[in-house]
Amino acid sequence: MPDSVGRGGGVRTSRALVGYDEAVSRYDPLIGLETHVELGTRTKLFCGCPATFGGEPNTHVCPVCLGLPGSLPVPSRAAIEYTIRIGLALNCSIAEWCRFARKNYFYPDMPKNFQISQYDEPLCTDGWLEVTLGDEAGPDGAPRTFRVGIERVHLEEDTGKSQHMGGATGRIHGADYSLVDYNRAGIALVEIVTKPVEGTGPLAPDVAHAYVKELRDLLRSLGVSDVRMEEGSLRCDVNTSLSPRGSGRWGTRTETKNVNSLRSVQRAVHSEIERQAAVHDAGERVIQETRHFHEDSGITTSGRSKEEAQDYRYFPEPDLVPLAPPRDWVEQIRASLPELPAARGARLQEAWGITAAEMTIIGNAGALDLIEQTIAAGASPADASKWWLNELARRANDTGAELADLPITPADVAAIAALVGSGALNDRLARQVIEGVLAGEGTPDEVVAARGLAVVSDDAALNAAVDEAIAANPDVAGKIRGGKVAAAATLVGAVMKATRGQADASRVRELILARLTDS
């Protein structure tokens, strides 16, 4: 099925479908990833236009990013510095001397019909990133890690955006014409290219997923990009090829474009392995081509064939002088790098006394920063984890928000934990406080005051409620008097209900037992 939906009504084939497990039992996958990240610099790469997302069409433009005749690019120091930060964090070497190059091809969303990029002299080369597969334990029970080699990190400019009009689908094919907005044109884009990742076996989709996730977290921690995949500030192309197990030769690779969520990275590799296995099984040849991943169906379809490799006629950009980052600048940038996610994860895991698996859960929930800050605000690691991973994760999930986007601060959570710890609140009341804070009713203290939430542990107030509960439940009272102490829970529940949850449950239990037993 996948190939039959290719463009131009491609020839339908009668390939047998191959399941994933079967595919990876007979073929070794080889993957490679090219990731484009829009830098979070204030201005575009070569001009002073704002690099902010969106905006009214064609309002973030000037002669330079519109490529008007006579205009000239001047690179932003910040963009160079960010790229070096990324390179250093990925354990790359930073070029002592390198140049921008022009990549020549005609396309209406590219104002100059060439892209200023880097070709054979990238700013950063030859590094690595260690990634951890959260769900897959290795033979020793520890999470499995892979070291993904980094081929290069370079800097280039983004293109404008075309909107295809007319036709049935709003897509490029069948459109009558297109409308172009150049606000995005010229925004600084860093391209991070991995070396081919071998030896993953069936874990190839997981490694791809873990790599992009780890890279995303790394970029976020470096403060170089907001890395919002949904806004296109991080975009992935995934290369996949297969080797018949034991053959020692690799099939042709395909490049799957526009894989724009973490889950899609995984699904795209998964789907492409299945498809290529079917092609090989049918005795056919995988075609070197660009493929497009479809979020809805989870499959890839054929894009442009690369049979006739495009010649971009690269040459050194004459309008820009070479880059020769002084070594002391590079070292200064290295010294200013924040603690990187992997190192930080290991440190915090030890400090908090939790397992690697728990750490992975925290990481996957995007709660690491929040929990760390909550602990810094005075909560215990157990309390901080408990509130963020349970109650708050549930509420974030309900509203489809990121944890970090909930309108509650780590300090709020620490304050709530403290109130529970002191006995002023119980868990149930604490949940009400959280609800109030999220509803914008103020700080935890303000919510407690406004809602009149407080554990009632004053014996005089509680004794009345206890007496009422005993009177209303003579059978239960009788059982307790008869020695069935466990039945006290029913009376505690009744008291709690009567006090709308504000009673100190343990004190209530003591008072009930004092009334009904000799102890």
Binding site: L66, G70, L72, V180, R313
Partner: protein, 498 residues
């Protein structure tokens, strides 16, 4: 006082400063001169009379208010139509830009305005500065004021013809392979290619980015120097602009003394293929320099003979990329957008109709030279030759202060003679190209008339990077000696205008 339009820029500036003439009068005199002679010369593509008069009045107001005026305030100027101007169309001599009105001023345009220079209009040029005759202009050629049947040189031929025809005392051109010095030489005026990076390229529509150099044209060396200092200097909008003080060219032009200088003659540029009259005048210039106290020696630059082929790989390569933006999508004309053609087809139809033959030749040549299979043999090799030419210059400048040669192998050639013979046309830049490839400064100063045809001959003086002042010293000395010997300015002999 002489007729206003015959005065030099220095004289006009002094007259305006001293209140002997208003900037408005000066401007009117030049506009009248343009009206009178430009139908024959065709130097201008666009005359901005209203804006020029307003700029002149602003200078007069500033003077009346007691403000101090700059060295060229109130002096009219002819601007090559490759510099962007907010208030005038910019065509680059091409049909493809249509009636494009740039939304911004080139840095040099802005500096001229700030200095109170009066921009009279935009001058004709070979399309996108590719050519040596202005015959590649989509709007027809300009004519040489010495002989209207001959070319004014190119690509800055409109500016050189305007200056030679006394339509403006100053002109600005751009030099990529000789496009200021060659038209200067064949029109009998001074043409200067400053050090690459000394003048901002921001707002100069690019032909070959690593070579394009804006520079002055004038009737005297001092005027060229005055304009040089006004237009030059570091520009943060041009990453290739040099952040260093402008060489003291005005002082050098006033010094006009070659005593104690060592001058090298490049033997590669004095032999076969040169018009005898050109060589005769060049030989006399060498003797003159010796008589003025310079030590003249011969310095071989063996790789200069490969400069022309290297240039015709590097410049077209860069141009094929620079001119890709003219694609009918954002500005300029659009051809074939009738609903049946794709964007790709509209681009190709527009470019086929909007570009002239020379531009097409160079775009295709550059596309060829940059193709992956040919890159090393053509573009890569040309870049190595560029290194060798730089080394030739460095070795030469270890021994001498400046190098000299004829500016062009021949005097102005007849219109139409080379228009469909690209290789013959390319030879016009034989002597000027090495300085473009190496980025150093060079100046052409008239050194007499060729006896065969009575047309001007240029002496080229080449100086090291950022030593532009040296060539002004030499040029001014030659000019002063020849003017003194002749008794009147050379341009008085120009009899082409009816």
């Amino acid at each position: 006082m002489a007729e206003l339009f015959r005065m030099s820029a220095a004289e006009i500036a002094a007259a305006v400063r001293d209140g002997e003439a208003s900037a408005a009068e000066v401007t009117d005199a030049h506009l009248a001169r343009i009206e009178q002679v430009d139908p024959q010369v065709r130097a201008f593509l666009h005359v901005a009379a209203d804006q020029a008069r307003e700029a002149a009045r602003a200078v007069d107001r500033r003077r009346a208010a007691g403000e101090e005026l700059g060295p060229l305030a109130g002096v009219p100027l002819a601007l090559k139509d490759v510099f962007t101007t907010k208030d005038m169309p910019t065509t680059c001599g091409s049909a493809i830009l249509g009636d494009w009105l740039p939304p911004y001023d080139a840095t040099i345009t802005r500096r001229l305005r700030e200095a109170g220079v009066v921009i009279l209009g935009k001058t004709n040029m070979d399309e996108f500065a590719m050519g040596s005759s202005t015959e590649n202009s989509a709007f027809g050629p300009s004519h040489n004021p010495w002989d209207l049947g001959r070319v004014p040189g190119g690509s800055s031929g409109g500016s050189s013809a305007a200056v030679a025809a006394h339509e403006a005392p100053l002109g600005i051109g751009t030099d990529t392979g000789g496009s200021i010095r060659q038209p200067g030489a064949v029109c009998g005026v001074v043409g200067v290619k400053p050090t690459y990076g000394g003048n901002s390229r921001y707002g100069v529509v690019a032909f070959a980015s690593s070579l394009d150099t804006p520079g002055p044209l004038a009737r005297t060396v001092l005027d060229a120097a005055l304009l040089h200092e006004v237009m030059s200097g570091h520009d943060p909008c041009d990453a290739t602009s040099i952040d260093a003080p402008v060489p003291p060219v005005v002082a050098a032009a006033r010094q006009a003394d070659v005593g104690g200088m060592t001058i090298g003659v490049v033997p590669e540029f004095t032999g076969e293929g040169f018009q005898p009259g050109v060589l005769a005048r060049f030989g006399e210039a060498v003797e003159l320099l010796e008589s003025l106290g310079a030590k003249v020696t011969e310095v071989s630059c063996p790789h200069f003979s490969y400069a022309l082929p290297a240039y015709y790989l590097i410049a077209p390569s860069e141009c094929s990329s620079n001119l890709a933006r003219f694609d009918a999508m954002r500005y300029g004309i659009r051809v074939g957008d009738d609903g049946t053609h794709s964007a790709e087809e509209v681009m190709a139809l527009t470019r086929a109709q909007g570009f002239g033959a020379e531009v097409k030749r160079r775009i295709m040549l550059g596309t060829y030279a940059l193709s992956s299979g040919y890159y090393d043999a053509y573009y890569g090799k040309a870049q190595q030759v560029r290194t060798l030419i730089i080394r030739d210059f460095e070795a030469a400048f270890d021994r001498v202060d400046v190098l000299i040669s004829p500016t062009t192998p021949t005097t102005a050639f007849p219109l139409g003679e080379r228009v469909d013979d690209p290789m013959a046309m390319y030879l016009a830049d034989l002597c000027t190209i090495p300085s473009d490839l190496a980025g150093n400064a060079a100046l052409s100063v008239p050194c007499g008339l060729s006896p065969e045809d009575g047309l001007p001959v240029g002496l080229q003086i080449m100086a090291p990077v950022l030593a532009d002042d040296r060539m002004y010293r030499v040029g001014a000395a030659v000019e002063a000696a020849l003017d003194a010997r002749r008794g009147y300015p050379l341009l008085n002999d120009a009899k082409g205008l009816a």
